[in-house]
């Protein structure tokens, strides 16, 4: 462990951590656009410069390793001037469309421009990129807002391991590209959307959030992803009880700050009108158990032969207690009559690992059979 001082605060941190990370972990925010805790260091945005005691010139904090006894100031008149100047330059190549921008409120560039009081750029705006690509159902790429921080390239290479995009050309002409700027679908992209997650501006946005409200219109709901058994923490941005988009929750979780394509985009089932939200009992069983008074018989035509069978034609909803009662009494009857091996239990990969564990325990220990299986795929 190393001890250093940032803004007068004594900080203990493990060796090898950079100064910016040390500050962020201790609640000290140093402006940064290209740095991301889970990605390699780039140093291209130049914003995170700090004053280091004993150094004449400001030092880029993301590129400086913590060392014993370092004394660092993250705020000073000189640093404010530098950061203002840099944001000013950024805005010379970034349209100030904040009033209509979907990212307004969660855009990092906007945040820093606000914090440092940069109302507009003092430069003659010259925009290097105009490409707009909406070639896939998941996210759009609006290059005019891209500040070339390279987070998307790094996340795709270092975290996802796909490297579907990279910088192309150089200098003012450079932009983030698939090979030959082709459609995302023709690239090796797996549409995990982690690039969208780490993008600090509106250059990458989920299609589902376009024109559906901005940060202050959205409610954030913490949840566990229901798509598979891993149990990733997920955060749904919700408006009017509808999911607008999903992103990785930043708190401690099994998935860190990232999600897979299923969790990020595969949540439409949650609001599907056909989704079952309570237990149901078939109408003939319900009659025989006295839950329903209607003497219903299964029609001759199989539901599979009907174009759109309505679940309500066959089932009636019951409360959970009733459902448990029916299931347990039936199971007891079967075990008594034919022994435990007459029962087979099938679980779902959509249940969490813990649920699946409990399920097999139920089958083996309570019912007494090893007939347990699992769909094991999604």
């Amino acid at each position: 462990m190393i001890t250093l001082t940032i803004d007068g605060k004594k900080i203990q941190i493990e060796e090898g951590t950079n100064v910016l990370e040390a500050a962020l972990r201790n609640g000290i925010d140093i402006p940064h656009l290209c740095y991301h805790s889970d990605l390699s260091v780039s140093g291209g945005c130049r914003l995170c410069q700090v004053e280091v005691e004993g150094y004449d010139q400001p030092v880029t904090s993301c590129g400086m390793a913590c060392a014993e006894g370092l004394v660092i100031q993250t705020q000073s008149e000189r640093l404010t001037a530098i950061r203002r100047n840099l944001i000013d330059i950024f805005l010379a190549d970034h349209p100030l469309d904040c009033v209509t921008c979907d990212k307004a409120g969660s855009c990092l560039l906007q945040k820093y421009a606000y914090e440092y009081g940069v109302k507009e750029t003092s430069y003659i705006p010259i925009y290097s990129k105009t490409l707009y690509q909406d070639d896939n159902p998941f996210f759009i790429r609006d290059h005019q807002y891209c500040i070339l921080c390279g987070r998307c390239v790094r996340v795709c290479d270092e975290i996802v391991g796909v490297h579907a995009i990279d910088f192309a050309n150089r200098g003012f002409e450079s932009h983030i590209a698939t090979p030959y700027d082709g459609p995302m679908i023709d690239s090796s992209c797996v549409f995990c959307g982690n690039c969208v997650e780490v993008c600090p501006t509106a250059a990458l946005l989920p299609v589902s959030r376009l024109k559906r409200g901005r940060e202050w219109d959205l409610e954030r709901v913490d949840s566990i992803c229901g798509y598979c058994g891993v149990g990733c923490k997920i955060e749904y941005a919700v408006k009017d009880n509808e999911i607008i988009y999903a992103q990785a929750s930043v708190q401690e979780s099994v998935n860190g700050s990232f999600l897979c394509t299923k969790g990020r985009y595969g949540w439409d089932f949650a609001v599907n009108p056909e989704r079952l939200t309570q237990p149901m009992v078939r109408r003939d069983l319900a009659y025989s158990l006295g839950i329903s008074t209607e003497n219903w018989r299964l029609p001759k035509v199989s539901p599979l032969d009907i174009d759109k069978p309505d679940v309500d034609d066959y089932f009636i909803p019951v409360d959970w207690e009733t459902a448990y009662e029916i299931v347990s009494s039936k199971l007891v009857d079967i075990v008594k009559e034919s022994g435990p091996d007459a029962i087979v239990g099938l679980a779902s990969a959509r249940c969490t690992n813990e649920e699946n564990y409990l399920f097999q325990k139920l089958m083996r220990a309570v019912i007494g059979t090893n007939n347990v299986d699992h769909c094991a795929r999604l």
């Binding site: 780039s42 590129g63 840099l86 150089r170 200098g171």
Partner: protein, 562 residues
């Protein structure tokens, strides 16, 4: 190969050379080639063949003789050591030269059936004997262009055949390497470099001995040596000349560096625009490998070393060492933040020495003659000599090697023989797109690292472009900004966007749309780019604008509304 065999090779070559009455050297360096040296060389060879005196005179192709503006250059060296230089040698002059210096021997017995074209050449040579034009082309060696030079790096350039290892050996080649690996410890070699005061000739001027010591002390089983031959400054061609004209000297310097730091592998990173340099270095490596100078157990010692060539592909920024490393690793040549410096984490994360071609080429002479000898040349802070590519609006342009601390006045007025025509000397541009313009008023400035920096320029790799009074400085500054915009890698925002903004401001001024306050704004933007950019390219990109604003402000002011 053992020392004895090496000496034998050198002696054999020396004996062979001494057998000739005289040797005719023809420069076939790029500049002379574009002036037609290829044809001149052919005419010399044909003439020699036709005269049937190949045993008395030898025609040798060599590298740069310096005065490129007067090419093709030919030098005749008598066995006695006496030398005569000829400038602007056309094919006709080449024949006259052969007629003058080569006796027309009778065809040997049994060889009567001479080919018709040879008979024709012989008759032309006969006729050329009566011409008297050659005299006018003699280049006096008393010209300040030659007398002011002190040759350390370029010592053998123009004398050795760059494609012949034996010739380099005959000129004392690889003796410094032998001395290093048999008589000195790596530590001593580093100390010797430190004492010599040699500083990086790529431009930044970091002490070479210190750099080597860092890498020597770095703990790692694998270390690398890289020769930076990505000479990107427009107007500079010192490194190309060294690689083309005496590749073995650079290789020898590299091997000494490798021995000093404990590296077993090295890379030449050469600019893709230099096909001849690439070819010559490759040949040199092959020849050295065949002779046992490169490879395992070098010269009978336990020192092993191998070298490879990597080719740049048209990116100025790859001259920056971290970008160069990325380029060798097959990636986009984008610089990264330092530290860690390449001395601790360079190529593939291993400690790496990166030195410029000229730095490496200085090493053998320093080891052979001693650090004290080298340190006597130059000034207090800047030791030794510097090679400059003298170009632009001057009478004499070409390649010069001068002691550090020489004044610009001597270079421009004496060596360069002033600006031709009615125009006047206005400024000297050093350091290429990263440097600045030094005006007439500072013409007595001694040329060394510190003084140039004080004037807002840099030593740079050695480009020295002279501008006369007909050049508009704002236009000139715009030319460099255009270069920097084109060559910016695009990684950091001040350089990527800032250089475009500086260029736009210059355009605004030059197109007559200037407003009061624009010059202050220009200075402000330049300062921002300079102080916040990630690498050396961005940090120095505004220099051409800032230095011209400092010294030629009036030329900018007239662009503003009165």
């Amino acid at each position: 190969m053992s020392r004895e065999k090496l000496d034998q090779m050198a002696d054999r070559e020396r004996e062979r050379q001494e057998k000739f009455d005289r040797r005719v050297f023809c420069c076939i360096s790029t500049a002379c080639l574009s002036a037609g040296a290829g044809r001149t060389m052919q005419a010399l060879k044909d003439g020699l063949e036709a005269s049937q005196s190949g045993d008395k005179v030898e025609v040798v192709q060599t590298g740069c003789m310096g005065l490129c503006s007067r090419g093709p250059l030919v030098r005749v060296r008598e066995n006695t050591g006496e030398e005569t230089y000829y400038a602007d040698v056309t094919t006709e002059l080449a024949e006259e030269l052969i007629a003058k210096y080569v006796p027309l021997s009778e065809p040997k017995a049994g060889d009567e059936a001479l080919a018709p074209e040879i008979i024709e050449t012989r008759s032309r040579l006969e006729a050329a004997r009566r011409k008297r034009t050659l005299k006018k082309h003699i280049l006096s060696q008393n010209l300040p262009f030659f007398t002011k030079q002190v040759k350390v790096v370029l010592r053998d350039v123009g004398y050795v055949d760059p494609e012949k290892l034996e010739d380099y050996l005959a000129h004392g080649g690889y003796q410094a390497l032998y001395k290093a690996i048999t008589e000195m410890t790596p530590e001593e070699v580093c100390d010797e470099m430190s004492r010599s005061g040699l500083r990086g000739r790529g431009g930044a001027g970091f002490p070479t001995g210190t750099k080597w010591t860092f890498v020597r002390k770095a703990e790692s089983d694998i270390k690398y040596v890289v020769v930076n031959g990505d000479e990107g400054d427009p107007g500079a061609y010192m490194d190309r000349t060294m690689m083309e004209d005496n590749p073995h000297q650079v290789l020898e310097g590299m091997m000494i560096a490798a021995y000093a730091v404990g590296a077993y592998h090295g890379f030449f990173y050469i600019r893709g625009e230099y096909p001849i340099a690439i070819d010559r270095i490759r040949r040199a490596i092959r020849a050295a490998r065949r002779a046992g100078i490169l490879g395992d157990s070098i010269l009978g010692s336990d020192f092993n070393f191998n070298a490879d060539v990597r080719i740049g592909a048209g990116a100025f920024v790859c001259g920056e060492e971290t970008a160069l490393i990325h380029s060798i690793e097959g990636k986009r040549g984008m610089p990264r933040m330092r530290p860690p410096y390449p001395a601790t984490s360079g190529l593939w994360g291993k400690p790496t020495v990166i030195n410029n071609v000229e730095t490496m080429a200085s090493v053998p002479a320093i080891l052979l003659n001693g650090a004290d000898w080298y340190a006597k040349i130059g000034t207090d802070q800047s030791k030794g000599t510097k090679v400059f590519a003298l170009a632009g609006q001057l009478t004499n342009t070409g390649l010069i090697e001068v002691p550090m601390g020489i004044s610009l006045r001597e270079i421009v007025y004496e060596m360069g023989d002033n600006v031709p025509g009615d125009a006047e000397f206005k400024a000297a541009q050093t350091g290429g797109p990263s440097g600045g313009c030094i005006p007439m008023s500072h013409v007595d400035t001694p040329v060394d690292y510190e003084r140039l920096k004080e004037l807002g320029s840099i030593m740079g790799s050695g480009g020295l472009v002279i501008i006369d009074s007909t050049t508009s400085m704002p236009q000139f500054a715009r030319f460099f900004m255009d270069f920097c915009v084109d060559e910016s890698c695009g990684k950091c925002v001040p350089c990527r966007v800032g250089t475009v903004q500086i260029r736009a401001l210059l355009d605004k001024l030059l197109e007559g749309r200037g407003q009061v306050g624009d010059l202050e704004r220009l200075e402000e933007v330049c300062e921002i780019v300079k102080s916040t950019s990630l690498c050396g390219l961005g940090q120095s990109a505004p220099n051409p604008v800032l230095s011209t604003l400092q010294f030629f402000r009036e030329e900018y002011e007239i662009l503003l509304p009165s």
